[in-house]
C-alpha cells in the first residue's frame, strides 16, 4: 500500500480512519493487453486524489475498477469497505461524473430531470419522486449555481453547465465518494476554475472524498491533496508538489516536464520502460 494520503494534515491525533478507496496490486488485462499493472494506493475520507497520465495510460480504466464497472484480473479493490460490486444499496454513496464530451444535444430531459435521475436509487421501485426528492434536487442545483436553469433542456447548456449538472446529479444524495472523469474537458478556463472551487467547497462541507482523472495537470495540482501518475503501472504518488518535481513524471509521459516542475530540469532518458511505483510522500 502506498503511504501517500495515509497521514493527512490535521488527522494525526485522531483515531485511524478506514480508507474510502483501497487498491492492492491491481492488474487489469483487456483484449489481451495489460492495461493496469500492480496499482496500489489507498485514499482516506475527505481526500482529493488527482489521477494523471498520458493518453491510453489506463486512467479511465482505473476509475472504472474503483467504480466496479471493470473487475481486476488480479489484486483487490475495496470501496467504502467492500468490493465495489458487492456494495448493494450502499452503492448510492458513490457519485460518478463520466466524460461528457459528446452529450446528446437532443436528449429530451430538462436539467431538473437529469439531476432527479440521481435520486432514482433513493425513491424505490414503482414509486414516483416525492416532495423530499424534488427538494433535494433543487438544493443540489442551487449548490451548483444552476437553480435558474432547472427547466432548461440539458442540450441547451454549455459544457461547464453540463458538468455542474452532472455533479449536482452525483451529489443529490448522501454521497461519500465522488469520481470524475475529465470533468474539465471542453470547459473554458473560468468554468474550470469554478468547477474546482465548487469541489473544494463540497469537500469542506461534506468530508467528501474525490477521485478525478484529468489531463490538466496544473489545475489538478492546485486543488488536489494527492496526485498519482499512472501509465499502466503507478509511476509516482504523493503530494502534488512532490509529484510535479519527481523525475518519474517525465518517465511516465515519455517527455520532459520542465513546464510543470518549475525549473527542476530532469533530462529524461529515452528509456520508455515502465517503472515500478515510487511513492513519494
Amino acid at each position: 500500500m502506498s503511504n501517500a494520503g495515509q497521514q493527512p494534515a490535521g488527522l494525526s491525533d485522531r483515531a485511524p480512519q478506514a480508507p474510502v478507496v483501497a487498491l492492492d496490486g491491481v492488474d487489469l488485462i483487456r483484449g489481451g493487453r495489460q492495461v493496469l499493472s500492480g496499482i496500489t494506493f489507498s485514499l482516506l475520507p475527505g481526500r482529493f486524489l488527482g489521477l494523471i497520465g498520458p493518453n491510453g495510460a489506463g486512467k479511465t480504466s482505473c476509475l472504472k475498477v474503483i467504480l466496479g464497472l471493470l473487475r481486476p484480473t488480479r489484486g483487490t479493490v475495496e470501496v467504502l469497505g467492500s468490493a465495489p460490486w458487492e456494495l448493494g444499496h450502499r452503492a448510492h454513496q458513490i457519485g460518478y461524473v463520466p466524460q461528457r464530451a459528446y452529450t446528446d444535444r437532443w436528449a429530451p430531459f430538462s436539467v431538473f430531470d437529469v439531476v432527479m435521475m440521481g435520486r432514482t436509487c433513493c425513491i424505490g421501485l414503482g414509486r414516483r419522486p416525492r416532495r423530499k426528492d424534488r427538494e433535494r434536487v433543487m438544493e443540489s442545483l442551487e449548490r451548483m449555481g444552476l437553480s435558474d436553469s432547472a427547466k432548461q433542456p440539458i442540450g441547451d447548456l454549455s459544457g461547464g453547465q453540463i458538468q455542474r449538472t452532472m455533479i449536482a446529479r452525483a451529489m443529490c444524495r448522501k454521497t461519500r465518494l465522488l469520481v470524475l472523469d475529465e470533468p474539465t474537458e471542453g470547459v473554458d478556463l473560468p468554468h474550470q476554475d469554478r468547477l474546482y472551487r465548487l469541489l473544494d467547497e463540497l469537500r469542506a462541507e461534506r468530508n467528501l472524498t474525490v477521485v478525478t482523472v484529468s489531463h490538466d495537470v496544473s489545475m489538478l495540482a492546485a486543488h488536489a491533496d494527492e496526485l498519482a501518475c499512472i501509465n499502466s503501472t503507478m509511476h509516482v504518488h504523493g503530494h502534488p508538489r512532490e509529484v510535479m518535481e519527481s523525475h518519474h513524471l517525465g518517465r511516465a509521459y515519455s517527455c520532459e516536464f520542465d513546464f510543470f516542475s518549475h525549473g527542476h530540469h530532469d533530462p529524461v532518458g529515452h528509456d520508455h520502460a515502465a517503472h515500478g511505483g515510487d511513492h513519494v510522500g
Binding site: L69, A91, H92, Y96, W106, P108, M117, L125
Partner: protein, 276 residues
C-alpha cells in the same frame, strides 16, 4: 365506419387491437429513441419471418413461434453487442438476415400456406381474432406493467447506463428486459401492420414527439396520440377504400412525421415548441 363499428365485431376487434398495439409501440418508442435502438427494432421484426415460417411448417401457432424467435434474437443482439467483439449493427445484420433466410428456405418446403404468410408479412387488422386480441391484451399487461414498474430506472439506464449501474441499478438486466419487451411488442404489431412494417410503429411515434416537444413527457404524450391517430385514420382508410391496413397505418404515421417536421421548421423561426 363509426356507425358500422357497433354492428360488426371484427371492426370492434380491429379498433381495440390497433389501439393496444399503438399504445405499446408508442410507449416503447421513447426508449427506442433514447437508446438509439431503431435498428434493433427492425432486426427483431424481420427475424420474426423465421419464427412465423417455423410455426406454419410445424403446425405450431406462428405467433408463438415468432415470439420465441424474436425474444431469442433480442437477447442474442444484447449479448453480442455487450460482448464487444462485434458491433451491434453487425450482430443485427447477421442474426436478422440469417433468420429471414431460414424463413425463406422453410417457405420453399411447402406452397400451401403462402397466403397465410402474406398476412403475417403485411398484417390484416380487420382479421384479428378474439384469441389474438386476448394475446395482445396479455402482451400489453406484461410490457406496460414492466415499463410502469421500472419507468424511472429505465429512463436513467437508457440515458446513462454506466452511471445508473454505479449507483446500484441493475442496468444490464433492465437492458435485457427492454429488449424482451421490444420482442413482445414487435410480435404484437405483426397482427396489425405485419412484420415488414412492425418496426415503423416502434420508431416513428417518438420521432414525431421529438419534433413537437423538448421534454420526455411531451415526447411520450405526442408519441401516444400520434400512434392512436394513425391507427384510427389508417383503419378508416383501410375500411372505406379497401387499402392494405398495415400500409395505411404506417403511411399515416409517416404523414404525421412530415407535418410535425414542417411545424417544427415554422415554429423554430417564430416561437417556442408546441409542448415543453
Amino acid at each position: 365506419m363509426w356507425a358500422d363499428l357497433w354492428a360488426f365485431d371484427f371492426l370492434q376487434r380491429a379498433l381495440v387491437a390497433g389501439c393496444l398495439v399503438s399504445l405499446l409501440c408508442s410507449v416503447l418508442s421513447l426508449f427506442v429513441l433514447l437508446k438509439r435502438m431503431a435498428f434493433v427494432g427492425i432486426g427483431i421484426s424481420h427475424a420474426a419471418l423465421g419464427g412465423v415460417s417455423i410455426g406454419l411448417l410445424t403446425g405450431l401457432n406462428p405467433m408463438l413461434s415468432a415470439l420465441v424467435v424474436c425474444i431469442g434474437t433480442a437477447l442474442g443482439i444484447g449479448a453480442i453487442s455487450r460482448g464487444g467483439r462485434l458491433a451491434t449493427d453487425m450482430a443485427i445484420g447477421i442474426l436478422t438476415t440469417g433468420l429471414m433466410a431460414l424463413g425463406v428456405v422453410l417457405v420453399g418446403f411447402s406452397d400451401t400456406y403462402q397466403g397465410d404468410l402474406f398476412s403475417y408479412l403485411f398484417g390484416n387488422i380487420l382479421a384479428v381474432s378474439s384469441g389474438q386480441l386476448m394475446g395482445l391484451a396479455v402482451a400489453a399487461v406484461l410490457v406496460l406493467g414492466f415499463i410502469w414498474l421500472f419507468f424511472k430506472e429505465l429512463l436513467f439506464a437508457t440515458f446513462d447506463e454506466e452511471v445508473a449501474q454505479v449507483t446500484g441499478l441493475p442496468a444490464r438486466a433492465l437492458d435485457y428486459g427492454l429488449l424482451v419487451a421490444m420482442a413482445i411488442t414487435v410480435v404484437s404489431a405483426i397482427a396489425v401492420v405485419g412484420l415488414v412494417l412492425a418496426s415503423a410503429m416502434l420508431v416513428i411515434p417518438a420521432a414525431i414527439g421529438t419534433q413537437l416537444a423538448r421534454n420526455w413527457r411531451g415526447v411520450l404524450l405526442v408519441s401516444i396520440l400520434s400512434g392512436l391517430l394513425a391507427v384510427v385514420a389508417g383503419l378508416s382508410l383501410s375500411y372505406y377504400w379497401d387499402l392494405a391496413s398495415g400500409g395505411a397505418i404506417v403511411l399515416m404515421l409517416v404523414a404525421q412525421f412530415f407535418v410535425a417536421l414542417v411545424w417544427r421548421g415554422i415554429t423554430r423561426l417564430t416561437t417556442v415548441p408546441l409542448l415543453p
